[in-house]
């Protein structure tokens, strides 16, 4: 008996809303018929039948949110088939439980984690800026946070505009610019041709002339076409002109490893851009940081490379509800205070690091977890101070090991806190290979929670 399964709209979709049923029990369907409409925060799609037969059962009611991909949503009886065979009861288990932290992937209740609640680390975004203790926090996705940041800055300063592929009429390839065209019009929210080198250069020229462009790259992979303009024109301009000509602008878009898109669409440019003097490089993890730092980036008089992450766009977090939430560039956040070992990460690496932290804390290791947030200027002080206290450092990133952020931190710690180290610094990184397509190989190529735990065990000499 064919089951109709909840489909994925994209490689990174994990769940969605079953918005509407277009068939009912007893309807005869053939392949190509539209059965239902499903929705995510990013898109809407129709589910078509690939089977022929009669709808015998609707398993998930219209309007249900948070339906996991591959969950059976209906049964279709082929001609001659008998009803009554019990469908498999349980949907395929989610690959890994959502982290039981504020930065949760799903709004659904977190699965009962092994970690005692009291020991779980907590993010406290209030600790970042000087916010009043009683500030109201609003839950939103990273995508919404970025969208709000841009909308607020577009409202605030008429010199700010956004350009890129599909940012306007399509509402953003990843829906980060949703609604901006409607509010700000086509003069300020500008669809470009597929011409990264050209529009990046054009935007740099506009910045020289005093505007404040926000350039969206559909992904940072495509920005390789434009890297000359980012580095040779934008980053070096102030210096080459003896301080005369500025390039106040933001280059932004999803960076890092997506899901199942293979080598050319899955890489992390954090270390590449962090290498370049003249650039500011920001790689946020939480929704609050995404908002507060993007606003800061747009206001910065310098060219900013703002590295988002496709997989994190849909994750939710608490964002302070204040009129103008701007975070300082260049300040790491201590996500959890601890005394035994320092884990430093940023962006998607923070997901592995936080999940590992939960488990380690549950096992009695007092982890100090630091989210760098800004990669240039790198907040060495926070890391060094922490290592002086813990004597041990593990770094976590999705990028390649050679010349990576972990390599840089390792060098700085050796230079500035050598005598405080009780163990060699260990790096957990993406593997030193182009990203493979096959699901099993891709998983192997990425860093994971177990590797972080193993590294912490090694530097703390626990077996």
């Amino acid at each position: 008996m064919p089951q109709i399964l909840m489909p994925a709209l994209s490689p990174t979709m994990e769940e969605g809303k079953l918005a509407k049923w277009l068939v009912k029990v007893g309807d005869v369907v053939k392949s190509g018929d539209v059965l239902a409409e499903i929705e995510t925060d990013k898109a809407t799609m129709e589910v078509e039948s690939v089977d022929e037969g009669t709808v015998s059962e609707i398993l998930v009611a219209e309007g249900t949110e948070g339906v996991k991909v591959n969950t059976p949503i209906a049964l279709v009886l082929a001609e001659g088939e008998q009803a009554g065979e019990a469908p498999p009861a349980a949907p395929a288990a989610a690959e890994e439980p959502a982290p039981s932290m504020v930065q949760a992937e799903t709004p659904a209740p977190a699965p009962a984690a092994a970690a005692p609640v009291a020991a779980a680390p907590k993010f406290e975004p209030q600790a970042d800026p000087d916010l009043p203790a009683d500030v109201e926090m609003v839950e939103m996705t990273v995508r919404q946070a970025l969208n709000e940041a841009m909308a607020e800055e577009l409202r605030r300063d008429k010199d700010v505009f956004i350009m890129g592929e599909e940012v306007a009429e399509y509402q953003g390839a990843y829906k980060v610019t949703q609604g901006l065209l409607q509010e700000f019009g086509p003069e300020r929210v500008i669809d470009t041709p597929i011409t990264e080198h050209g529009f990046a250069g054009l935007a740099v020229g506009a910045a020289f002339a005093g505007l404040k462009p926000v350039v969206e790259f559909m992904t940072w992979n495509f920005a390789m076409q434009a890297i000359d303009q980012i580095i040779n024109s934008a980053a070096k301009q102030l210096y080459m002109s003896g301080g005369q000509v500025k390039a106040p602008m933001v280059f932004r878009g999803p960076n890092g490893v997506a899901a199942r898109v293979a080598a050319q669409h899955s890489q992390d440019y954090s270390a590449w851009y962090s290498h370049v003097p003249g650039l500011t490089v920001i790689a946020p993890y939480s929704a609050a940081d995404a908002k507060g730092l993007l606003k800061a980036a747009i206001r910065s008089p310098n060219p900013v490379v703002f590295l988002e992450n496709e997989i994190l766009y849909g994750s939710t977090g608490l964002v302070p509800k204040v009129d103008d939430f701007v975070l300082p560039i260049g300040k790491a956040r201590i996500a959890r205070k601890g005394a035994d070992v320092t884990i430093v990460s940023f962006s998607m690496g923070m997901r592995y690091a936080t999940q590992a932290t939960e488990k380690l804390v549950a096992a009695g290791v007092d982890v100090e977890l630091i989210d760098l947030r800004t990669l240039r200027p790198l907040d060495s002080d926070t890391v060094i101070e922490s290592v002086k206290k813990t004597g041990r450092l593990v770094t976590v990133e999705e990028g390649w090991p050679q010349g990576g952020i972990g390599a840089e931190l390792s060098a700085r710690v050796m230079e500035q806190a050598f005598d405080y180290l009780d163990a060699p610094v260990l790096r957990v990184t993406g593997k030193d290979v182009p990203m493979p397509y096959a699901a099993n190989l891709e998983k192997l190529a990425l860093p994971n929670v177990d590797e972080v735990i193993a590294a912490v065990n090694a530097v703390t000499y626990r077996s």
Partner: protein
């Protein structure tokens, strides 16, 4: 459609736009300043006072002079590649600052941190001085974008060479410039050689004025050795861009007398070719001959101008030789702006 210019057909005197006496004298002064400045720069390079790359504009003076005369100074933006000294002199930047930048001194336009290829002036709206071949095409298109965005009525005058004309981003820029009708005039300075490679060996089609045809950008081929022709075409092109009709291409047929850079012995062309240009087409000599023929000035008058210009260049060279190098602390300034 791209159209063949009146200028290309203008071999007959009847079609040549005429300059007033004042215009002839202005062109003479500006071009002579570039010539003498560049000759001095070449000499100082030979003395080891100027380092790195040094690309001289000798032979091409009419291009930037005629175009700048046709533009609104202080309003229209200009941007070019690495052969940029002439542009700055004509736009009114201090020759001392330019020469001191060549020698890497603290009084240079970029405090000695940019060098020959990297000089700028927000005040004069000169945006370089760009060392990456073709990058200025996109940047200049962005200057035009800013003009349209703010509605300030300025035109972006974006220069690049026949070599850069084969870079991909030039066509990305053409496409966006026409798509959005941006006020930009692309000046293709065709001096026949991209470094050591002649246009015939590098370009599938050598009529660069046609390079915008598939984007519906009009183009003209212009005698870039005759400052009157340059001025006339530039007036037309700038007016086109300023009036909201979008980009315009002017291919300037010009010639550089010196090598690509100071280290280039120019073995890829004959001495005769160079001599022919110098003797028959020299942009400065053309003006000198016309002025004398018209009888409005005397040899003595022109000598006086020569003397004045030599004094300016000598002053610049002296300044650039004696000005101190930047303070070591400058190594660490101007990297980013503290917010």
């Amino acid at each position: 459609m791209a159209r063949k210019a009146t200028a290309t057909k203008a071999k007959t005197q009847a079609n040549v736009p005429q300059f007033t006496n004042e215009q002839e004298l202005e062109a003479f002064r500006e071009m002579l300043l570039i010539r003498r400045f560049e000759e001095k720069a070449g000499q100082m390079y030979g003395m080891g006072l100027i380092g790195g790359f040094c690309h001289l504009y000798i032979g091409q003076e009419a291009v930037v002079t005629g175009i700048t005369m046709a533009s609104e100074k202080g309003k229209d933006a200009q941007i070019t590649g690495y052969r940029d000294h002439g542009h700055m002199l004509v736009m009114g930047l201090d020759p001392k600052g330019v020469m001191a930048e060549l020698t890497g001194r603290q009084g240079g336009l970029s405090k000695g941190k940019g060098g020959s290829m990297h000089m700028f002036s927000n005040e004069h709206r000169f945006y370089g001085g760009n060392g990456i071949v073709g990058a200025q095409a996109s940047l200049g298109t962005g200057l035009a974008f800013a003009s349209k965005y703010t509605g300030d009525g300025s035109v972006s005058i974006t220069y690049f060479g026949d070599g850069a004309a084969n870079q991909g981003q030039v066509y990305e820029s053409f496409n966006m410039a026409k798509l959005w009708n941006l006020p930009v005039v692309y000046i293709i300075e065709n001096n026949k050689y991209a470094m050591g490679t002649s246009i015939e060996r590098a370009a599938a089609t050598t009529d660069f004025s046609m390079r915008g045809a598939s984007f519906n950008i009009p183009g003209e081929q212009v005698d870039g050795m005759d400052v009157r022709m340059v001025f006339d075409a530039a007036k037309r092109a700038i007016e086109h861009a300023r009036s909201g009709k979008g980009p315009y291409i002017l291919e300037m047929l010009t010639y550089r007398y010196r090598g690509h850079s100071m280290s280039d012995p120019a073995k890829y062309r004959t001495k005769d070719e160079v001599t022919k240009y110098r003797q028959e087409r020299d942009p400065i000599e053309q003006v000198r001959a016309r002025l004398l023929e018209a009888g409005t000035v005397t040899e003595e008058d022109l000598k006086k101008i020569e003397t004045d210009i030599r004094a300016i260049v000598t002053e610049a060279a002296d300044f650039a030789t004696n000005d101190p190098e930047p303070d070591p602390s400058e190594l660490w300034t101007d990297i980013t702006i503290e917010a």
